[in-house]
């Protein structure tokens, strides 16, 4: 990593909009300029140095230490570089990001990866509700990129997602992939109830712990789907955290739906 280390001095009394602190914005700046970047904290503006101790070297990458759930919009709209968050990340982590990598060594809040178009988010703890999902007032959720959650994800993950991949190593909440338009959602643990509700296209993959399957999904039987091997191998190339995907089988039980909306999506239960 090449860039400053920002250590939160104390938990702020209001939510902080972290979107001005991205690798794109920090490129070519020195530590003094970084210290002077204005952040919105509740109804007021504060400088970065008022909230954070700043050390390390100037550079495009950022490490945020002692982070808490009130730091929102970390990595918003970033296109390159790396952000490492040690602690919790607030809502809207990596929203609208187009490239680069965000790693959270802790939990992430609501709507992580909302509006995301590219790059990677890796959450080593749990993710809140609406992971990669559509934001209120919008038509589509995540539109590209990859999200990996090592822990569990909340409800409505991947709601109305349009493209990209979400991989949850733990359990997924209810209404996973609801109204999904396309893209891939992989939940290695237990998938909550009403998965794929209203999905039109897209793929939900799980190794077997399926909750209540909606009656509007048709059982297509056990099939060997070659695209799964290809997809698992390509995703595994992202790094060792994705290595477990290489071990997955392409033999799967396919449920097509959601017929309630004339959907051509699928829930694949790996065998």
């Amino acid at each position: 990593m090449n860039g400053p280390i920002l250590t939160l001095k104390e938990i702020p009394d209001s939510r902080v909009d972290m979107s001005p602190l991205t690798p794109d914005a920090l490129r070519g700046t020195d530590l003094e300029q970084i210290a002077a970047i204005a952040l919105r904290c509740g109804g007021r503006k504060v400088t970065t140095s008022e909230l954070f101790g700043i050390e390390g070297e100037p550079g495009p990458d950022i490490e945020i230490r002692e982070s808490c759930e009130r730091l929102e919009g970390i990595g918003s709209r970033m296109t390159k570089g790396e952000i490492r968050v040690v602690g919790k990340a607030g809502a809207y982590l990596g929203q609208d990001m187009k490239g680069g990598v965000i790693t959270v060594k802790g939990d992430a809040g609501l709507w992580a990866g909302a509006g995301m178009r590219g790059g990677r988010i890796e959450i080593l703890g749990n993710a809140g509700d609406y992971l990669g999902a559509v934001r209120i007032g919008e038509q589509q959720g995540m539109r590209g990129g990859t999200i990996l959650v090592i822990g569990n994800a909340g409800d409505r993950l991947g709601e109305r997602m349009r493209r990209g991949s979400i991989i949850v190593q733990g359990n997924g909440g209810s209404y996973a992939g609801a109204n999904m338009l396309a893209g891939t959602l992989i939940v290695m643990g237990h998938l909550g109830s009403c998965a794929g509700f209203g999905m039109r296209r897209g793929t939900i993959v799980t190794p077997g712990m399926l909750g209540d399957l909606l009656p509007s999904f048709s059982d297509c039987g056990i099939l060997d789907l070659g695209f799964l091997s290809l997809m698992f191998r390509e995703l595994a190339n992202h790094g060792p955290r994705y290595g477990f995907l290489k071990e997955l089988s392409s033999l799967t039980r396919r449920f097509a739906g959601d017929a309630g909306v004339g959907g051509k999506g699928e829930i694949l239960v790996l065998q």
């Binding site: 296209r201 789907l225 191998r233």
Partner: protein, 302 residues
Amino acid sequence: MSPHMKINGVVIEDTFAEAFPMKATRLLITAQSHYWAYCAANTMTGFATSVIACGCEADLERELKPSETPDGRPGVSVLLFSMSGKELGKQIQKRVGQCVLTCPTTACFSGLQGEETLPLGDNLRFFGDGFQISKRINGRRYWRVPVMDGEFLCEGKTGVSKAIGGGNFLILADTQANGIAAAEEAVKAIRKLPNVIMPFPGGVVRSGSKVGSKYKGLPASTNDAYCPTIKGQVKSALGPKVGAVLEIVIDGLDNESIRKAMHVGIQAACSLGAEQGISRISAGHYGGNLGPYHFKLWEILK
């Protein structure tokens, strides 16, 4: 200084092979087993010996291990060459559509990356009649077309590369049997090399052609100067001891690959030596005015 070159007693003529610019693509065909991958690849590259009448020239390049294929299954790589990108696109659609899509368990991927691309699954997907599924994986689009044994997985586009067609050399032997033996050795050696194919049956041509014909409308006709049975009737290029001529035609993705293939092939053919009836190695050209690529035998064999 000797005016001619010899390898193992075989005379190498001071001549050149004349070759032409082409467009090429590489396709990777995978299947549940090598048997089915070969079934698809052999069918797809059938009737693809010469652009004169087949639309393209195609052949298997090599066998692929599961670790070398995109989906981790056994496979085969195939090279297709045509005179233009447009014609190559048509041939890809017809051949993959009729020979790979139809073959049980197969999938088809692009084996070339380039700025220029041609549709592969992007057109074949319509066979899915609206039930096809698109997957964008690592920036590349793949189509999943429902078929009766499951799904046909096919990459959306394939890369196109500039290429060269028509690298060649002629083996002049005393008998057909000795000529065939030398040609088989040459083909065996060239098949080990990447980026080249020999599109004719078994990699060997017996009906070398010249441009034009006495018959109106025929673009090519038999290369009479190299036909042993009409020695007295034409200005023959064959000596009294030559009873058979066989040609190896090589298409390649680049100049260097063809040079290497010609080198390896001629050396292998000459390994049988003059004692086994191989008298001369020559090459086919049209006076040097038609094709911009000239592969000079003496330079290649230096």
